[in-house]
């Protein structure tokens, strides 16, 4: 078999391919535009969440323009230069163009990357404000449990923290009876929901008893793995009252998809009432 110049069918194939690329590109753009991200993303309930949405939009615009230009460029080149018996241009490239698009993408991509760090720094590099509510959240297969420090604002040590020299054969995750800080700790056992006060800074202390889990609330735009052996802080200030789904985002075993709970964002009065209920139980 020898390919002849201007081989038959190349116009039809070129047209179909170019058309397909155009349709797939427009279809993707159509979904993004008519089903804009705010209809996919649930509304954010914290300032950081809004900033992450804005950074998402910036990235979407930049990548969207590149996506459309590259795909339509490909479709156009494919159709324009289909074989019709012409002889191809002989060229090994163009160094000026190489330098241009290297620098252009470098500035654009790295600039975007550096810009995104502001939000990251605000959540991850700043310590939580001293008046933040501190809540310990513990993952285990396949439930979340919580602990509040009580009026003294201090968490008591668990047995394994109070007596690190001991080898435990029974549950080491019990607050040590000798630690005065632990007397007023409120433990909400596996399967509980938890609550925070609206507009008040919160610092979660995320831990795990068994395997790695991940705390994820969509409306906060935040996710943090719960890693056994570590206590990982995560801070936020929720500004919209409501009840928000918590899910597990790190594969933790056969019940991974069922490991959910709720985060209530309450006014101070509602929170006080909720806390009273919890203490009474």
């Amino acid at each position: 078999m020898v390919l002849k110049k201007g081989n038959s069918g190349s116009t039809a194939t070129a047209a179909i391919l170019a058309l397909l690329i155009v349709i797939l590109t427009l279809w993707t753009v159509y979904i993004f535009v008519t089903k804009p991200i705010w209809s996919w993303f649930p509304p954010a309930i914290n300032e950081i969440g809004h900033e992450i949405d804005r950074q998402f939009m910036r990235t979407l615009v930049i990548t969207g323009v590149i996506f459309v230009l590259a795909q339509l460029g490909l479709a156009w080149v494919v159709f324009r230069y289909r074989s019709r018996g012409q002889r191809a241009t002989y060229s090994h490239g163009n160094n000026v163009m190489e330098v241009f698009w290297t620098l252009a993408t470098l500035i654009m991509f790295v600039g975007l990357g550096i810009y995104a760090q502001r939000t990251w720094a605000a959540v991850r590099l700043q310590p939580a404000p001293p008046d933040a509510m501190r809540i310990e959240i513990i993952g285990q297969q396949f439930k979340w449990s919580f602990r509040l420090p009580g009026p003294d604002g201090k968490f008591g040590k668990y047995k394994f923290e109070a007596h690190p020299e001991q080898e435990f054969t029974r549950d080491p995750w019990v607050v040590d009876a000798d630690d005065p800080d632990g007397k007023d700790d409120l433990v909400l056992g596996p399967g509980s929901v938890f609550a925070v006060v609206v507009n008040q800074p919160v610092e979660l202390l995320i831990r795990s008893k068994d395997v790695t889990h991940s705390f994820f609330v969509r409306e906060l735009r935040l996710k943090q793995d719960a890693v056994p052996g570590m206590t990982i802080p995560l801070q936020f200030t929720a500004t919209v009252p409501g009840e928000y789904q918590v899910v597990c985002a790190e594969l933790c075993g056969l019940g991974h998809h069922l490991m959910g709970t709720f985060m209530k964002v309450l006014s101070q009065a509602d929170y006080d009432a909720w806390l009273k209920d919890m203490t009474a139980e």
Partner: protein
């Protein structure tokens, strides 16, 4: 410049069936063995994905062998084995070990690989790895459920963490460790062959971009698989010898205190992703090489910016080793480290963009011939753009906090590392089949396969981005755990149907492949009018490739449409005085 070592390594053509087809030393037979293994594995992996998509479309579906439906733990075992088989046995073996084995020696004018026995050993070690991996399906508890990333301590604690985490998980670790050994052997062989066995006149900058991509991929393999091997051995020790590399103290599972202490679960993630991120490039670089090669051949133009392409491949390989932390932004790793990894990751978009621009530059002003390999190469470019751009979201620490471990990630890596790489393999298969078997594949079936696959993969993976944006976590057996997931059921249904159609289309490919081996039209030496060395020898090539003499190379690999020359291509081996002027 190398001496002509090629002839020294030639060995006698074997006589018996076993030495010829089973324990062959011939790089071409070994290449085909790898391709067969990958093809078999690809269909196994696809079958697993059919089961997964069935469950996602209808969580209560009853199937043969699953009388109670697919249980959540079985779904997770499918996820784990689909990922493992596809990443290791398909994406790592076919593009590099398969096509690389067959065509690297020929494209550099050598009679065989530098170490033929090592080559045979690396294939059979890979085969053994696949056997051990498949055995995990058949042991008590079944296959592991911890995902192909095998995060500790879920993967380290044994049966107590779930069915499949006992013997099945142990077999998984052993299979991966064996695979690492096989890949290291292969990598050494590829590097030595490329450096030592090039024909007279074939300087590094005259090598086809396919050879460059295999050579660089071998370098990545050599540095990456050693680390995974070490990690695998440590994990095996944690599981079997009561060590605690990855297991911290005071873990409690089903009210039992785990007798380990002092280890770090995050250590596993560092070791795994130090391998795991370069692995992405191990899968995609050969696809980039063959795409450049085929785009140039069928647009009848030299590769636009050959040097820039080589530098881009090299910088992707280098940067690939210093970005692994972007898999771990929310892992509990220091947030300062995340910051550094994020900016480094954004820079890897630069060489990727350079490659895309150069592909478009290659097509520009060409005389494009729409053969099936060309269609798949063009499809590769389109998918590479689509899959690559979503990486710019995930590389940003702040956005990743939302998108991490959602379906957005699944869509991203399937497009770029899965489907684009597989389009690279299809490109290679349709392009080199005439050389390998001396017959042409059917163009009409090939084109049908392309149209269905190209539309199909977009239909599967584009909507997947949107459920990721809506916060749907990955590796969920169903949406029953959270109310917001229920609204995404129709999207799951759409993706499942698209997947079934696309997978059905792959049988067209399988049929075309098998049918063409015996019934395809006879191919001559150079059916595509291409320029590199494999097109200067018979189809299929004889046992020692160049019939005992070493070819001489006179020019670069992509001399198409040279002004003043009668033909629109000049083989690398045509002496200057034999080039017909017009």
């Amino acid at each position: 410049m190398t001496t002509h070592a090629g002839a020294v390594h030639a060995h006698e053509a074997p006589k018996g069936f076993i030495r010829k087809y089973i324990f062959s030393l011939d790089h071409k037979v070994i290449g085909k063995q790898y391709i067969c293994l990958a093809l078999f594995s690809a269909f196994v992996g696809m079958f697993l994905s059919v089961l997964m998509r069935l469950r996602l479309a209808d969580p209560t579906i009853k199937l043969p062998f699953f009388p109670e439906g697919i249980l959540p733990e079985q779904y997770l075992a499918l996820v784990t084995m689909h990922g493992t088989i596809m990443v290791f046995m398909v994406l790592t073996t076919a593009p590099q070990s398969g096509f690389g084995n067959y065509f690297l020696p020929i494209q550099i004018g050598a009679a065989d690989m530098a170490f033929p026995v090592l080559n045979m050993l690396s294939f059979w070690t890979t085969f053994l790895s696949m056997v051990v991996l498949m055995a995990a399906f058949f042991v008590t508890g079944g296959a592991p459920l911890g995902g192909w990333t095998a995060y500790t301590p879920l993967s380290a604690l044994g049966e107590i963490t779930g069915p499949g985490q006992g013997l099945g998980m142990t077999l998984w670790v052993i299979a991966i460790a064996i695979f690492c050994g096989a890949s290291l052997m292969g990598a050494i062989n590829f590097i030595a062959t490329t450096l030592d066995l090039r024909a007279r006149g074939l300087s590094l900058m005259r090598m086809p971009l396919t050879v460059w991509s295999w050579f660089i991929t071998a370098g990545i393999s050599l540095l990456a698989f050693g680390v995974l091997l070490a990690a695998g051995i440590l994990l095996l020790l944690d599981r079997t010898a009561a060590t605690s590399f990855f297991i911290p103290g005071n873990l409690v599972l089903t009210d039992k205190v785990i007798p380990h202490k002092g280890g770090s679960p995050i250590l596993w993630q560092h070791l795994f992703w130090f391998f795991g991120h370069p692995e992405v490039y191990i899968a995609i670089l050969p696809g980039m090489g063959v795409t450049s090669h085929v785009l140039s051949t069928f647009s009848r133009k030299p590769v636009f910016g050959y040097r820039a392409m080589v530098f881009a491949l090299s910088s992707i390989a280098f940067l690939g080793f210093i970005v692994w932390g972007h898999h771990m932004f929310v892992s509990g790793m220091s947030p300062y480290v995340g910051l550094a990894f994020s900016v480094l990751t954004m820079t890897i978009g630069v060489p990727s963009a350079i490659k895309t621009f150069n592909w478009l530059g290659t097509l520009w002003g060409g005389e494009i011939r729409f053969t099936t390999p060309m269609l798949f190469a063009l499809g590769f470019v389109s998918l590479f753009v689509s899959g690559g751009l979503s990486g710019l979201f995930l590389a940003q620490t702040s956005i990743d906090q939302y998108l991490h471990d959602t379906y957005f990630v699944v869509a991203h890596f399937h497009l770029i590392m899965g489907v684009a790489a597989i389009f690279g393999m299809f490109t290679a298969t349709y392009f080199w089949f005439p050389k390998m078997f001396g017959r042409m594949m059917s163009e009409s079936l090939g084109k049908l396969h392309f149209w269905l696959s190209f539309v199909g993969v977009y239909a599967i993976f584009m909507p997947m981005h949107f459920i990721g944006l809506a916060g749907h976590p990955r590796r969920y057996a169903d949406g029953s755990g959270a109310a917001f997931l229920a609204s995404m059921d129709p999207v799951h249904m759409f993706m499942s149907v698209a997947a079934f159609i696309t997978i059905a289309a792959q049988f067209i490919f399988l049929f075309n492949l098998v049918w063409s081996i015996w019934k395809g039209k006879k191919a001559d030496i150079n059916p595509w009018q291409a320029t590199t060395l494999e097109w200067s020898i018979p189809s299929p090539p004889p046992h020692d490739n160049f019939a005992g003499h070493e070819p001489t190379v006179y020019r670069g690999p992509y001399e198409f449409s040279v002004p003043g020359v009668a033909d629109d291509f000049i083989l690398q081996t045509t002496p200057p005085d034999k080039v017909v002027k017009c």
